[in-house]
Subunit: 490 residues, 2 copies
Amino acid sequence: EEVSRLLALKAKLGGDPPAATQKFTLKTPKGTRDYAPQQMTLRQGVLDKIVQVFKRHGGEAIDTPVFELKEVLMGKYGEDSKLIYDLKDQGGEILSMRYDLTVPLARYLAMNKISSIKRYHIAKVYRRDNPAMTRGRYREFYQCDFDIAGSYDPMLADAECVKIVSEVLDTLDIGDYVIKLNHRQLLDGMFEACGVPVDKFRTICSAVDKLDKSPWADVRKEMIEEKGLDDATADRIGEYVRLNGGSQLVEQLLADPKLKVVPNALQGLQGMQLLLKYCSLFGLDQRVSFDLSLARGLDYYTGVIYECVLKADPTSSSPVKLQNGSADAAVDAEQGTVGSVAGGGRYDNLVGMFDPRGKAVPCVGVSIGVERIFSVLEAKYAASGLKLRTNDVEVYVASAHKGLHEQRLRIINQLWDQGIKAEHSFKLNPKLLVQLQHCEEHQIPLAVVLGDAELSQGVVKLREVSTRQEATVPLADLATEIRKRLSSSA
Amino acid sequence: EEVSRLLALKAKLGGDPPAATQKFTLKTPKGTRDYAPQQMTLRQGVLDKIVQVFKRHGGEAIDTPVFELKEVLMGKYGEDSKLIYDLKDQGGEILSMRYDLTVPLARYLAMNKISSIKRYHIAKVYRRDNPAMTRGRYREFYQCDFDIAGSYDPMLADAECVKIVSEVLDTLDIGDYVIKLNHRQLLDGMFEACGVPVDKFRTICSAVDKLDKSPWADVRKEMIEEKGLDDATADRIGEYVRLNGGSQLVEQLLADPKLKVVPNALQGLQGMQLLLKYCSLFGLDQRVSFDLSLARGLDYYTGVIYECVLKADPTSSSPVKLQNGSADAAVDAEQGTVGSVAGGGRYDNLVGMFDPRGKAVPCVGVSIGVERIFSVLEAKYAASGLKLRTNDVEVYVASAHKGLHEQRLRIINQLWDQGIKAEHSFKLNPKLLVQLQHCEEHQIPLAVVLGDAELSQGVVKLREVSTRQEATVPLADLATEIRKRLSSSA
């Protein structure tokens, strides 16, 4: 009876038996991924470099919750609102996952009555994107945002955002890129000049936004068949959105008889002129392109808009291969680009939408889309055949024979207490060969080898893993000697 | 007519008029908070130090999505499952927000068939905690987890986790602490010895877990009135759970007639004996306390359990004051502690619950609860009256008079391109005094002052903000000179 009681107890305590384990497929939610140590090392490297650029421009970090009151997000994203993740109503507030970091920033500024800040925010955002349409885009992904809030003279902050994007792309060294620039006021003025009814500006703007993925013929069809534009109006838009260039294009459009009579178009063009001048002072002439097909999907932009795209590598036969067999690369190949890695713009009215008295705080900012950058770097790394170290262990403490685990614990403890990164086997009596193989596999530079003969004389062997050279070191000098070797090999 | 058309356009483009702004209260979701730059600076400092400790022990970073399939979380948390945030069913998979980082780790290990890893994971977790019961706890909060997975000899990995907690607390320097240790097998053996029916072990364990917040009388009442234990059984438990000490207590309990005949109790005590010995080799005798009242709420623990609590500062008249008028400090004051800052334990069956063939991967780990640490540091910092710098700007580029903004852009661009952290005014013609005041307020160490007279000679003034001393520096040497001054003052 005692036996059966213990068996029952064992069954109770020992977890469910195999038969009771889960029947569902073991996976992460659709559109999400885990980051393994190798990927985390790459990712952390990218994020560190981005933070360095943000700090170089005086950015301060903030953080906000991963979800917001649903009301905060409502009415901010136009057609994209359907992509917002909602939380279940479990009693209490109705919440949604953040869709970007811009609306939470605006809520933060309004709530705390902050009228000027240069802030950066690196965090994950959530979009229930239709997988049939996205290919290689995630539903959970990092954004790295830098925004400048405050009432300033035109285009100075806007130009600094362009500079920041170029510094990020330069420091990441992932190939040639172009930063496309346009202006929402110019787009609106252009729509007006082409004869688009005012109430269709936003929806036609969304259609133009698709030009980075779809050919003009498809976008034209959407404008006419879905959005009710007449053929002639669509064709007039078609004439403009194929244009891109630099200050010369601005001059040309300032002289355009249809545009120059529309105040919005005129103001947008004057803004572009100033922005291009400042970009030129920042040495960015070869990096920027004024592009009338750039529209950006989101409702809240009111001025300058940006988008940075990687150009296909002309020296390789195919564009940089993205993970998960992304088809974006193929689609974009005809334009010679592998897709957008940063975007942003000016949104002068968003903070005011949260202020009880509608007090506006002008803002401009950029968002670096790092997932695609990770993908490019992962592919580069995989192609290089190099193995990335995923931990920083400096020394491995090994036993030469049995019965040394207490000595090992004492010695590794001294190393930790002196700030040295050290590990050892969690076996009491591991084989020396296994321990040394572990060092070689994990590229640990040094190994301390303990043996009774040496310990009785107060010394240990210090082994350089790559050369297999060993030296005898007094225990008392061990940490100092390790540091010396590490700094000389670094 | 043109005017009214433009007015309509303006209304359309200019965002909603004030009357249409939101009517809801501007706030973050209940139980969540924003981090302002000052708080982020503190937080980043804490997280960096923790990562340093994790890396010192060979930790590799991983990351997992913020939500999981609901099925992954089901049946892992016992009574706490009701605190899980669910996402709304918007078609597709049914998802829940992660409740901790341990279950996602187990899912990750099983999914990728990984049988050994030392991993750390720093990320936010989500718990719909009842605010009436929590006071000062958040619904969104960071966990910093370090876990060791793999089949090893007993207690070596377990002891290293205790060492890691002590290193983290030492490096953060937030006061004296004690790491309480206990063993689930001993708890179960003790329940058995006291006469608790097997099917009540888990629920009685949950009751014991409340001893860190409630007096024994309340817990006893819960055991008897809610959980149906008889008075004598509860009283026998009461005798044990008041015990705490070191190896001597283990010896005493190994001789306890009721316990020594229960195999689980015996094994648990032998485990504790070994753990305490290893902790002693790690120099932790004064830091650890074998405490029979420690139970931990979660279902999945199978061996050692830990909890680290800060002791109240004996030199101050009141315990460290927590933010938001936390009542925990008061509740815990009678025990001379200000609450738990880390916890964890061994969970040998969790990974097996995810494996189709039930293959187990033994794991042990700790989780640092940094929100409370942030609160303690914020209070300390506020009390010190010091102002924390929230950006790293090294030099401010100022105009001495009007008309210099293009020169300013050119020069600041050079500094950025040479990696110097620099900012300037976004006004075309800012007043010099305002610019210099900005430097003093933001503790920017250096200012470059541009003036036509100097520029015509190819020089600028470089000003040390704290001393207001100025020197004339050739533009060509500016970056070099700035670096020299920064490194000499650092």
